[in-house]
């Protein structure tokens, strides 16, 4: 059987693949969840139709990255999957229910009129909102760490619920709203675009606020995080991350003020990338924070070898046709539907 473990650090590479999959999920589903979050605030029905149309061909593919994140974690770090999912039982179920309500709204909304149409609008909005909030809560709870007993979760059912995780939940709502509004700037014009630009400015303000809050809070969650960020020489190596983040904030603000179309979305992505990088620096090398490392949770090297062969050949193809699909549906979105 194939086994690359003498040649390669398989858990490390697998961890990179999972991190990349989750990051792509956050970006891609982030902008379409963001569209759902902003949905009821759009100035007119035409605007809402344009927004919905701009993501209708993509939402399903975007959500598939979440399946790769979950399925991939199961395949590459089964121990982490087995500990984390029961630990976060309630928020995961609530996130999934949110995703159900918003997913079906894409089909049902275009097929209904009157009150039912409004019902699916709200199903789309609150589904997106719940999914974003609970993903943020999951992130916060993950950063705080979970209790482990043997090879299983050893804490209580509500360990995930506290001020920090609630804060990250709200923060992610604004983060996704920023991605969604900058996407809407890119994909629409006229009134919708004007409104999206204003929404982006508001979202940006809140994102700055919450990012600052997270930066102040995280180092004091535990000693490990404090040492990671605030001791020498780490401080010197890591200071480009916050500095670049500040520069990106300013550029994004300027880009919105200059009424650019594509740049705000790209800068919002960059902002998320920097945040994600900061997160990875904080959590390294844990897959179950502060308890189990990548190497301890990794699946059998033969399993990892097989998966990495698949990833090596299939992921570039996947990215290729995903890009093709975005190319096919390039340009501005219209407001028609059946």
């Amino acid at each position: 059987m194939l086994d690359f473990s003498p040649l390669l650090d398989l858990p490390l590479i697998s961890g990179g693949v999972i991190a990349a999959a989750i990051f792509l999920y956050v970006l891609l589903d982030g902008f379409d969840l963001g569209v759902g979050i902003l949905f009821p605030f759009a100035p007119s029905e035409d605007c809402r139709n344009k927004m919905m149309n701009s993501i209708a061909p993509f939402w399903d593919g975007n959500e598939t990255w979440l399946v790769l994140g979950g399925g991939g974690l199961f395949a590459t770090f089964p121990l982490a999957y087995a500990i984390l999912l029961p630990a976060f039982y309630i928020p995961i179920i609530l996130m999934l229910l949110g995703l159900i309500f918003r997913g079906v709204a894409f089909e049902f909304r275009f097929k209904s009129k009157g009150k039912m149409h409004t019902l699916w609008d709200y199903s789309f909005h609150f589904g997106s909102l719940a999914a974003a909030f609970f993903q943020g809560v999951l992130l916060g709870a993950f950063v705080e760490g979970v209790a482990v007993k043997g090879r299983a979760f050893g804490g209580g059912s509500f360990d995930w619920l506290n001020a920090f995780s609630l804060m990250t939940g709200i923060a992610l709502i604004f983060g996704y709203a920023l991605l969604g509004s900058t996407w809407t700037i890119l994909k629409t014009d006229a009134k919708t675009q004007e409104w999206a630009r204003k929404s982006a400015l508001y979202s940006l303000l809140y994102v700055a606020l919450f990012m600052g809050l997270v930066c102040l809070w995280v180092p004091f969650l535990n000693d490990k995080l404090f040492v990671r960020w605030f001791t020498f020489p780490n401080l010197a190596y890591l200071c480009p991350i916050p500095l670049l983040t500040v520069v990106t904030f300013i550029s994004l603000y300027k880009s919105l003020a200059k009424k650019q179309e594509a740049q705000p979305f790209i800068l919002a992505i960059l902002l998320f990338s920097l945040g994600y990088l900061g997160l990875m620096v904080s959590l390294w090398p844990w897959i179950v924070p502060y308890q189990i490392s990548l190497w301890q949770a990794a699946a059998n090297p033969k399993s990892l070898s097989l998966i990495l062969i698949g990833v090596f050949f299939l992921l570039p193809i996947t990215l290729g046709y995903t890009a093709y699909s975005y190319y096919v549906f390039r340009g501005k979105s219209g407001h028609h539907y059946e």
Partner: protein, 460 residues
């Protein structure tokens, strides 16, 4: 109150996966059929094929969306409710799930977008290619997930390390485990038949109402081709699958047959009542020696009865026994439908007989019921094991509290009922509206409101 999280997790998993399988059963079949219909349109140029395609692609989209959202739930429930299982078998089955996502899910999702909204954005050839790719994606997905399921029924190519973790020893043996080829064929054909009877039933309704007759004839005609040629194949594959189960999971077969005592020349009980406490089946109607003949190909062959296993090793008998009869019964009704179709075809009356249209209309949901019944047989018949013979279901559960599982179960039941009701309502509405004449190339649903890319420059 003490709530058993294991029992509740089992109920929740059974409910959510039963709900989920309804949609793939239709999308696997519909996507392949849509590829054929679009191909016929491209070859013949008849608009009626395109109109049939445009009606059914909308129904496909609704079904697919419900399949996606209920499927995402499945990929997380394995961890939330069955973490013991995930930890133990992750190294063996994990890669199969990963390959399902990489080879099938992304493919389906990306090209579905083009299939639904790409009419005026890609060439006809590329659109057809997208439909074919989506169809291939659904079958590929079935390949991986049935391989994983079959491994849990007939595990192979593994070793168990001293920490009670399953480790892979041969990927070929894991993927192509003994029951996999039969289960894959049986399920994919089942999906095709489910679709055929669904489409045929709707077509018959149009015939009854004397609406959309050219479209209805295509639906009914193609459905009956499947009924005539594919139903017998399915019965044969089902029989081979049964023989395979007899070799690897004899206790399941004993439950299916309602057989308690090991005997030579075992009869086939067609109707009866398996009684767990008395440990015998009250038989109402049976054919002597048939079970032995079917399973061992010898009328005097020996078939093991349930009493061979201690009570705690036996699967629940009644539900397996009855589900099997429901599945086989529907299979026979499908076969009968095919025979009626042959008879009517040669009398040139296939599209004219009201009684046959009513019959086909009544058969519309038959495939779904058979698929569910079949899965009940194979999954409940596997109990009390999650990995047959090696790991008990009770060892697989997560350390979660019963009352939380109860809450999530109630939430799933409420939400799924609502979503399913809405989905059925919108599918019924689409069917009632029927195929629409295809007006112009930039048909509104085709673009789904997305302006062609050139508008960006001319409008601005």
């Amino acid at each position: 109150m003490d709530l058993d999280p294991i029992l509740l997790s089992r109920i929740q998993f059974a409910f959510t996966i039963s709900f989920h399988i309804i949609f793939p059963a239709l999308t696997i079949g519909l996507s392949s059929w849509l590829a054929v219909v679009e191909g016929l349109w491209l070859i013949t140029g008849h608009k009626v094929y395109q109109e049939v395609y445009k009606l059914w692609v909308k129904i496909f989209a609704v079904t697919f969306a419900m399949g996606v959202v209920s499927g995402v739930v499945m990929s997380y429930q394995l961890g939330t409710n069955w973490s013991g299982f995930s930890d133990s078998i992750g190294s063996v089955l994990g890669p199969l799930f990963a390959f399902e996502v990489l080879t099938a899910f992304f493919l389906e999702a990306s090209f579905l977008g083009i299939m639904l909204f790409g009419w005026d954005r890609v060439t006809r050839g590329m659109h057809f290619a997208s439909t074919v790719i989506v169809a291939l994606g659904t079958v590929t997905s079935a390949f991986w997930i049935l391989s994983a399921n079959s491994w849990m029924q007939t595990p192979a190519g593994y070793e168990i390390s001293n920490t009670l973790l399953f480790q892979p020893t041969s990927w070929m043996e894991i993927i192509f485990n003994p029951s996999f080829p039969y289960r894959l064929l049986h399920m994919v054909i089942a999906a095709y038949l489910t679709t055929a009877f669904f489409v045929g039933g709707i077509g018959s309704w149009y015939l009854l109402k004397k609406r959309n007759l050219p479209h209805a004839r295509i639906m009914v005609g193609m459905a009956m081709l499947m009924a005539v040629f594919v139903t017998p194949v399915q019965i044969l594959v089902g029989d081979l699958h049964g023989v395979n189960t007899f070799t690897y999971q004899p206790a399941k077969v004993a439950a299916i047959e309602g057989l308690w005592e090991t005997q030579k020349g075992a009869p086939a009980i067609l109707l009866g009542w398996p009684d767990k406490t008395e440990e015998k089946t009250k038989s109402l109607l049976e054919i002597p020696k048939l079970t032995s003949l079917l399973l061992t190909h010898d009328p005097e062959g020996e078939v093991k009865g349930l009493k061979e296993w201690p009570k705690e090793e036996r699967p629940p008998v009644a539900i397996v026994f009855w589900s099997f009869r429901v599945m086989v019964g529907i299979g026979l009704l499908m076969l009968a439908t095919g025979l009626m179709a042959i008879y009517l075809h040669f009398r040139k009356k296939l599209f004219d007989k009201k009684w046959f249209q009513r019959w086909c209309l009544a058969m519309t949901p038959s495939g779904f019921i058979a698929v569910l019944a079949g899965w009940f047989v194979t999954e409940i018949g596997r109990q009390p094991y999650i990995v047959y013979g090696l790991m008990r279901t009770a060892q697989a559960a997560s350390p979660v509290m019963g009352r939380h599982v109860l809450l999530s179960l109630v939430a799933f039941v409420v939400v799924y009922t609502f979503i399913f009701g809405a989905g059925l309502y919108y599918i019924a509405k689409l069917i009632k509206k029927g195929p629409q004449p295809f007006l112009k190339q930039d048909d509104i649903y085709g673009s789904h409101g997305l302006n062609p890319p050139v508008l960006r420059y001319s409008d601005a």
